[in-house]
């Protein structure tokens, strides 16, 4: 601010009328050019950049396989058809890739991961939020520092461990491996929610004769339910979108998740891009819907640590 005042423009105009007219012209120019053309122009470009790939995905998905290979490509298909979406239920049309099976696998793994991660994270994040015990800082650090570690490098030891424990190609193994992502996420989000619940509530409950654990279960947990739901949805989206772990720990086609299974819809000799785009579209719907439902929370949670809001 100091800088601003020092460089303050000397305003002692000799010709007042001319100056007012000049300012007026400048304001008008700014209003039309910057507020109108520039802002909406950039916004249009940004929206086009963000949305165009989706539109192209959708446009391709409602083409026939033949029409997707027309040169030059058609923006809007001449004969819109849902033919490509046949791969979603007809495994024969999809090189024996069973979309329902992949969908079910994704659902099982994502939901289990979410439930277990939230269940484990609730007491832990409550303790991190409320208690002061020796080693709390280090433990919290070790949970949250995970994302600085390269997951790829961890796959080798985990791969050997899972081979020894016969956890490869199993839901259990996949869910356990997904904890590397979901658990830190859930602990962090939930701690934020617990931090937002006033401490006085437990104190009042304790005075009324609750044990410490009783106060946590009866008073705090009900209040934290919206936070738990939001955390669960976020954890679900992350598990649903995960590719690397699923790729590494499932070689059995029966256990493929959607993200891995998706890659198999495009076999080398039968490049059916229309079908692949149909699959991509179908996979994206759950996450986009989940996101739009809780967009407001999402943005708040994401930025809570960086900005006091």
């Amino acid at each position: 601010m100091a800088v601003m005042t020092e460089k303050r423009v000397e305003t002692r105009p000799i010709d007042n009328a001319a100056l007012i007219a000049q300012t007026k012209r400048r304001r008008q120019f700014e209003r039309i050019f910057i507020d109108g053309i520039l802002v909406y122009g950039f916004l249009a470009l940004l929206l086009l950049f963000a949305i165009f790939p989706f539109l192209w995905m959708f446009s391709t998905s409602i083409k026939t396989a033949q029409e997707s290979f027309v040169i030059p490509p058609r923006w809007i298909p001449q004969h819109p058809t849902l033919e490509a979406y046949k791969v979603l239920y007809d495994a024969k049309a999809a090189n024996n890739n069973s979309f329902p099976r992949y969908f079910l696998n994704s659902l099982i793994v994502s939901i289990s991961t979410t439930v277990i991660a939230v269940a484990i994270a609730v007491p832990a994040s409550y303790a991190f939020s409320r208690f002061t015990f020796p080693g709390k800082g280090i433990l919290f650090f070790s949970v949250l520092g995970r994302n600085t570690f390269p997951l790829v490098a961890f796959l080798v030891p985990l791969f050997q461990l899972f081979a020894a424990l016969h956890l490869q190609n199993s839901y259990q193994g996949l869910i356990l491996a997904y904890m590397t992502i979901s658990l830190p996420l859930a602990v962090w989000l939930l701690k934020g929610f617990f931090d937002g619940i006033p401490n006085e509530l437990e104190k009042a409950a304790r005075i009324d004769g609750c044990t410490r654990f009783g106060a946590f279960v009866r008073v705090i947990l009900p209040l934290a339910t919206p936070g738990m739901v939001a955390t669960a949805i976020y954890a679900f989206i992350n598990a649903w979108n995960e590719y690397l772990i699923a790729l590494t720990f499932t070689s059995d086609p029966k256990l493929r998740t959607l993200q891995v299974g998706q890659t198999f819809f495009l076999s080398e000799n039968n490049s059916n891009w229309a079908a692949l785009m149909a699959v991509s579209f179908a996979i994206s719907i759950p996450v986009v819907v989940a996101f739009l439902l809780l967009q407001r929370f999402f943005i708040k949670a994401l930025t809570a640590g960086a900005v006091k809001g």
Partner: protein, 338 residues
């Protein structure tokens, strides 16, 4: 301004206790019930994080035959072999270009987007929602969409450029060696600029409106208000966001792998895809993958230490950032990093 606040802020900070008081075991015993709350989480993290971390370091010092059998301690031989790989230099260069360019452009576009959608706009909520979608969908799906758009024969991007007479015939965006790295960077910027946008929208909201009105009274134009208020006020969160993007980009395996597989001829191979290839493509070289993993881990640790240091410093100097050091670490979880 930052220096002034820092000197003012310093005396208010309570000295950090580094030396444990006597009787730490006594205190641990007193708080024994507390550990029950965190035990399941810590136990799970021990299996999936601590064990792999320790084992990765151990493996990197041993020779492991791809066909099983006894392991042999070889010191730093694995590191020497990994570094002397004929493609190592190219991979390091790719990783640097990929990380730097993706981060800078995502930040720039994110900043423009954040400034625009922070203004009163028609259907602002919907506009924000649409702009965030690229970041929400899976890396696999995003990679496939771009792979299709970059297709050498039928790709729409080539045909748009032909329509505008910028090129004569379709370009090999990701199938040739010339454009592959810039092409996947463009796609990556598309995927992650919304993240920068979200962070910067939040940052913009913390700038007090009075600063702008005061500057207006003083006769500062838009550009000066931007360079002398918006940018300095935003600088802490710009730094934090750029570091988070660096982490995400260094670890962006899925996107690169699905889009190009690191090819053609290593032109788009980055560190993480190389680690994966060493371990799981062809004959498994777990020892080389581990050595490269350790190198990558140490590089990321340097960034992490810088990040924590920066965050702590900002917590003391700025009102923008929450005054808890864990706040910074916690943010690491939002980048969808792998």
């Amino acid at each position: 301004m930052a220096t002034a606040t820092r000197t003012l802020g310093r005396p208010q900070i309570a000295p950090r206790v580094t030396v444990q008081e006597p009787g730490v075991f006594k205190r641990m015993w007193k708080h024994r019930a507390d550990y029950l709350y965190v035990f399941p989480a810590i136990f799970a993290m021990g299996i999936v994080i601590l064990y792999p971390l320790v084992e990765m370091f151990r493996l990197s010092f041993y020779y492991t035959s791809p066909y099983g059998g006894a392991q042999k301690f070889v010191g730093f031989d694995n590191y020497a072999e990994a570094v002397s790989d004929e493609h190592f230099g190219l991979v390091v260069k790719n990783t640097l270009v990929w990380t730097a360019a993706s981060t800078i452009f995502a930040l720039l576009i994110g900043l423009v987007a954040a400034i625009i959608v922070s203004r009163p706009l028609f259907a602002r909520g919907l506009v924000r929602g649409i702009l965030i979608i690229p970041w929400i969908i899976s890396a696999t799906t995003a990679a496939f969409i771009w792979k299709w758009m970059y297709n050498a024969d039928f790709g729409i991007i080539s045909w748009i450029l032909i329509r505008f007479h910028l090129i004569e015939k379709p370009l090999k965006f990701i199938d040739g060696t010339d454009f592959v790295l810039p092409s996947i960077i463009v796609a990556n910027v598309w995927k992650e600029f919304p993240f920068a946008m979200i962070m910067l929208i939040a940052g913009l909201q913390t700038i007090p409106e009075q600063l702008y009105s005061a500057a207006k009274v003083d006769g500062a134009g838009r550009w000066r208000r931007f360079t002398e208020i918006t940018l300095p006020q935003l600088s802490p969160i710009l730094l934090v966001t750029s570091l988070l993007l660096v982490f995400a980009n260094m670890n962006a395996f899925t996107f690169v792998w699905v889009l190009t597989g690191g090819g053609p001829v290593y032109r788009s191979a980055i560190f993480v895809t190389q680690v994966y290839s060493q371990a799981f493509v062809g004959s498994p070289h777990f020892e080389l993958a581990s050595a490269m993993g350790v190198i990558l881990f140490l590089i990321l640790m340097v960034f992490a230490v810088f990040y924590v240091w920066l965050f702590n410093r900002q917590s003391r100097t700025s009102h923008v950032v929450e005054d808890e050091e864990e706040g910074g670490l916690a943010l690491l979880n939002v980048t969808n990093a792998e």
